[in-house]
């Protein structure tokens, strides 16, 4: 009787642990995915404007690149959070 209870309890525990791991993975995925979308949205406008400016004046390339990659930090944060969640 008691052995059965222990067995059920341990399978339950394993199931809970597995589901927690799954939740973590979902969280990590959301962190990377949503921040990626955020970065994309932010870079969209900057990138278009930067390309326009570079078309007018090639010297703007360095500065344009700089402005375009500024929102990239957002997705890096997402990646960091994701990695910390998983490991």
């Amino acid at each position: 009787m008691s052995a059965e209870v222990v067995a059920i309890a341990s399978t339950d525990l394993a199931a809970i642990q597995a589901s927690q791991m799954g939740m973590k993975a979902i969280g990590a995925g959301l962190a990377v995915g949503l921040t990626g979308v955020g970065t994309g949205v932010a870079e969209m406008g900057i990138g278009a404007a930067a390309v326009g400016a570079i078309a007018e004046n090639k010297d703007f390339f360095g500065l344009g690149l700089l402005f375009t990659v500024i929102p990239e930090t957002i997705v890096i944060f997402g990646l960091v959070v994701g990695l910390l969640l998983l490991f």
């Binding site: 690149l65 700089l66 990659v69 990239e72 930090t73 890096i76 990646l79 960091v80 990695l83 910390l84």
Partner: protein
Amino acid sequence: MLKPKQMSRLLIAASKDQMAPVVAELYRHHLFHVEEYVEGGTEGYEGFKIGSPLTGASEASVALLSIRAIENAVSINPEEMDPVRAGTQSELKARIERELPALEREVEELSGKRSKLDNRVKECEQKITEITPFVGVPADLEMYRGYSGFSVYAGYVAHEVTLAVPHEMHYLKGKEKNFVVLVAPTAQRNEVERALQEASYQSVPIPDETGAPEARVGYYQGQIAALTREITEINAKLDAVKQQHAGFLAACEEFLRAEVEQTEVPLRFATTRQTFVAEGWVPSDTVDAVSDSLIKATGGKVFVTVLPSDPEHDSVPVEYSNPKFAQPAQMLMDIYSRPKYTEIDPTLMLAIVFPVFFGLIVGDVGYGLIFLALYVGLKRMMKGEDGQKLLTVFRNASISSIIFGLLFNEFLGFKFSQITGWILGTGGLVNPLEHYESLMFSRHLLIGSTEVGGHGPAIPALMIMAIWIGILHISLGRALGMYNHAKQDHGLHRIKAVVANFGWLAVMWGILIAIWSNVVMPYMFDLTGLPVIAAGFNLGTFIGGALILGGVICIAWDSVLEVIELPTIISHVLSYARLVAVGLSSVAIAMVVNYMAIGMFISPGMADLSPVGIVMIVVGLVIFLFGHTLNIALGLLGGGLHSIRLHYVEFFTKFYKGGGKRYVPFGIKRRFTED
């Protein structure tokens, strides 16, 4: 090193008859950055006028134009040619007079002919498109014209047309559009047109041709083939001209460009009726050489002197002064902005740190070797100077990737022990690398690993390493910022700016000390053991708090608005986590590709060498190649862009202004001619 080359302001004055030798000598030295004379307003230059070109300017310009036209026609680009000496200038001058007109005539004739033929090909193609709709109709083209009582309609319709009036019609059902040809009495025009309109009729012009449509299309196709043959012949002739004269043309262009530049430079000098004055900049260590040779060339009839200069108000042209290995990185600096004359030139730091960052991100011996092979291949193809510099930077980055690959124990996503195991394992030899893990924190993930208790990447350790790099890099940037402001600014502003930079440093380190005093983190200082002072917080927390507060006050003293930028301290430091994050994602892709290719296809295929097994091996190989090619492209983009971004955004914004004037010495680097 760390400073642009020192410049001196040179003033050259002589009588006008010495202008030609002075200009030639300056041009030969290729050192004198001409300061353009602007009429009016310049103190001490009252009554001076802008000079007029030397004799021969317009002739040289005309000849240069015709050379460039020829080069265009035969598509020669001197920039992309290997430098060959085609002869001395006097030889070239003679050859230009002798050979150029004939060559020009020949090329002009050929390219004129070619464009005429091109036009005729286009005409024929136009005819073919006009006739093509009629090809399916069994009627000769002259049948569509010349009726007095009938009208001919030809065009596309949406569906078949039904007519009550007597008519002759041919309907062709097509894939997208249906073609109809219709002849009906002109008297019933209204009825016919109404019926056609219902079928949404789009008229097609009837070609002005005779004979069967197929035959006409065939005829024009034959014409095009013949014309194309002629064009190919002309192209071959132009190519022959290119082969034969490329060196000569490039040398001519260089020679004439030199001529034009020399004859037109007086337009940038100040002149009076009898004399001229040229001002400009030369590197300080060449002043003596330049002035001596000027005096020699004019027989002493020139006055050369160094003017006092004020580096802050004069716009001094900036030339880099770096050790040889750091010079290619100047290109990366120019993409951002050239340093100002008075500020620190960070090229050397960029040249060292950029490859390190790149290596940290890529960190794979296999990819590093592939990058090196790419470098060797591209070096032959790229001819421009900027391209070569970029490639040298790329080479350094590749070597750094190999070094970090050794430290990370990575080869195309495998461990070395796996590779040596495969090579030596079949021979039954001992695997010497079996126990080599890695000298740095491992980045190997547990993808497809069946090893029980195998440990994954050392993420926390790697993250902290990246954060440390960020802290040190940013601290260096702030320290340089303090130095730059101390050097460049004056008075109260200077003190404020230096203090503000110190404030940023203090806030950053204050935050760090406060964190260390409360949390134990691997590979970081542990200050939790300090004596507790009040409210459960220890000494370190208070020191940290005091630093933060003091720092904020320092920043606010310079500019209150800057205080809202405080969160960037954390975001900039954390931004260095990309060194690990981007690298890990590249390792993950490599390992997934390896697992898919080998674990899922090649190994099962090898186990069973049936036709299915062989197909599986081939599929596995395709996945392997495609996946790694993709990862190489991503690695190049990620490694290069993120490394340079960490410099541009996180490092340079702390101290670097840029916006210096480029040093463009008067003269050219001769590649095809001799002095």
